[in-house]
């Protein structure tokens, strides 16, 4: 979405294809044109993501006013509709309130209202429920699923919680040290993990079946991104690692016998699968 902080980060290579256009090579200004109308985003911390000195009505109405040149009254009415739609109780009154007067879940609802205002085709949700309690998390995820069913928008859900992803997503990409290490449908990836990191993650989660037993964590700790190990970045923590893993970086591949679309970046996926 061209939101990277300008002096600190930039796109070093690669392409971002959105409807045939390569956003990575377009100027920031043009990409921002797509924001909200085509691609929208919600963030992890709904309190810091809302401007504390403007009423929520102002903030939700802003896309209509600035992007569509709508009059104040009309934009305000549309904002009210949206707030009702995402389930803000007593919206007529609360539209004049400021972000700090809302609970965490309600703030995230307001963020969602803002994001879907201009009917985007793609919603990027970056850890949308990480800062919320489980019961509220459930409500927000349900809201997102309902909105998706209603509008047909695509959604990229970024999360550290395998459970949250499993509930909502159809396909998943597992990332480690800045790379996608495995990708496929949720069921394929969760039931037949082909990358040792995915396996390790799934084994690490305490579940009903292993109460009283020891958990099987991944050994070691996540690598320093400034000094990634040579070869496969996971090899120091990997029980399957051999010599080739220490020298050659594995590409994403789809070995024989896998369902199409299920790929992993591991030299020894066959062995990993056989172990499962």
């Amino acid at each position: 979405m061209a939101l990277l902080p300008k002096p600190a980060g930039s796109i070093a290579g690669g392409r971002i294809i959105y409807r045939g256009r390569d956003l990575a090579h377009e100027p920031v200004k043009q990409v921002r044109e797509l924001c909200a109308t085509e691609i929208a985003m919600i963030f992890q911390d709904p309190l810091s993501s809302l401007n504390p000195v403007f009423s929520i009505g102002y903030q939700v109405a802003e896309p209509f006013r600035r992007r569509q040149g709508m009059g104040k009254k009309e934009a305000w009415a549309r904002a009210l509709d949206l707030l009702k739609h995402v389930g803000i109780p007593n919206a007529e009154k609360r539209i004049r309130d400021y972000p700090h007067q809302f609970s965490g879940g309600q703030r995230q609802r307001i963020m969602i209202a803002m994001a879907i205002a201009l009917g985007p085709r793609l919603l990027i949700a970056d850890e949308p429920t990480t800062a919320l309690d489980v019961t509220v998390q459930k409500q927000i995820m349900n809201l997102l699923a309902d909105l998706q069913a209603e509008t047909g928008m695509a959604m990229i859900l970024i999360s550290h919680d395998l459970g949250v992803v499993a509930d909502v997503a159809e396909r998943t990409a597992i990332m480690y040290a800045g790379r996608i290490v495995e990708t496929g449908t949720i069921r394929e990836v969760y039931d037949h993990p082909a990358h040792p990191y995915t396996r390790g993650l799934l084994d690490s989660i305490p579940s009903t079946s292993d109460i009283g037993k020891r958990l099987t964590p991944i050994v070691g700790s996540p690598p320093n991104l400034l000094a990634l190990p040579a070869g496969c970045s996971f090899h120091p923590r990997c029980p399957f690692a051999t010599d080739i893993c220490r020298t050659v970086e594995p590409p994403l591949r789809q070995p024989v016998g896998w369902l199409p679309g299920h790929e992993a970046a591991c030299h020894r996926s066959e062995e990993v699968l056989a172990h499962g």
Binding site: M1, A2, L3, P5, P7, R32, E33, L34, C35, A36, T37, A40, M41, F43, D45, S48, S49, L50, N51, P52, V53, F54, E62, P63, R66, R67, M111, M114, A115
Partner: protein, 304 residues
């Protein structure tokens, strides 16, 4: 409704603060080992004359009584007479305070008008040439002593170029130089504050949200970032305005400006000060009179 209640509560609190200040001033003045009667009557006065004078001024009464009288009169706005000029203290202040206030308001306005764009430019081009120029010069400006800058400006614009009057308050032009001198350090502070405030705000989540809404960068800064960045600025301006009123004394001396400076000290009797006698006070802060007397010599040499 909520805001009104808040303002009323703060005003109520301000009454307590004023009372506290008045009490502290009263106590400090009593503790100073100087006898106002002796000061007025002079070294040659007889003990009888001094006693009579003290009686006149109520200084022979018990402290607590003096204090209560002082408070009682202060409540109705009577701060007694100046020890030195024998006219009501309020009258003296009323004569000169408007000039000082005018100068302070002018300096404040000037500082805001200049510092805001400077800070904005610096923040939008972090570590760029403009940013470095602004931050460096603000540092230098803040380090320059006000009386020195005043004198230099006087030499340039009044003596050499003869564009502006050098002393007194005769027309609007004579406000220009004092206001600039007074505003300069304030400009430096506000510029840096605007810059750092904006930089801090731009890193916040809601700025990212504003960008994600596809707003133009101009709209992201105005009003989203600015409105948040102004919060500390308003606080500092409020606090610094008081300092500006006090700091005006030095500047006024340099420019022989008829402000409150004349109220605290006279060229003929540089070490004097009004002090609250029983039931009278013009509450000068001791520091402002002492800094003044130490710097008074500079302007006199210029005026010759």
């Amino acid at each position: 409704m909520c805001v009104l209640g808040y303002v009323l509560r703060r005003l109520l609190l301000a009454v307590f603060v004023l009372w506290g200040v008045a009490t502290v001033v009263f106590i400090v003045v009593r503790m100073v080992p100087a006898d106002p009667a002796l000061l007025i009557a002079g070294e040659t006065a007889t003990p009888q004359q001094l006693a009579a004078l003290r009686h006149d001024m109520g200084l022979d009464q018990p402290l607590i009584l003096q204090y209560l009288q002082y408070l009682g009169k202060a409540v109705v706005g009577d701060f007694g007479n100046s020890y030195l000029q024998s006219v009501p203290a309020m009258f003296l202040i009323g004569q000169v305070l408007p000039n000082t206030a005018l100068l302070a308001v002018l300096a404040c306005a000037l500082a805001l008008v200049v510092s805001f764009p400077l800070g904005l430019i610096a923040a939008l081009r972090v570590n760029g040439l403009a940013d470095r120029a602004v931050t460096t010069s603000s540092l230098v400006v803040q380090a320059l002593p006000g009386f020195w800058v005043g004198v230099v400006l006087l030499l340039i614009f009044s003596r050499t170029l003869k564009w502006l009057p050098s002393a007194g308050l005769t027309n609007a032009q004579s406000l220009i130089l004092p206001a600039i001198v007074l505003a300069l350090p304030f400009i430096a502070i506000l510029t840096r504050l605007t810059r750092s405030g904006l930089l801090e705000v731009v890193g916040e989540g809601y700025i990212q949200t504003a960008r994600a809404k596809g707003l133009a960068e101009r709209t992201v800064i105005f009003p989203h970032a600015i409105r948040n960045a102004t919060i500390p600025i308003v606080t500092v301006v409020g606090l610094e305005f008081g300092t500006l009123l006090g700091g005006a004394v030095i500047t006024e001396t340099v420019f022989s400006f008829p402000g409150s400076d004349g109220c605290w000290s006279r060229p003929s009797r540089p070490a004097t000060t009004t002090s609250p006698r029983p039931a009278s006070s013009s509450s000068p802060s001791p520091s402002s009179s002492s800094t003044c007397s130490s710097t008074c010599s500079t302007p006199t040499s210029i005026r010759e």
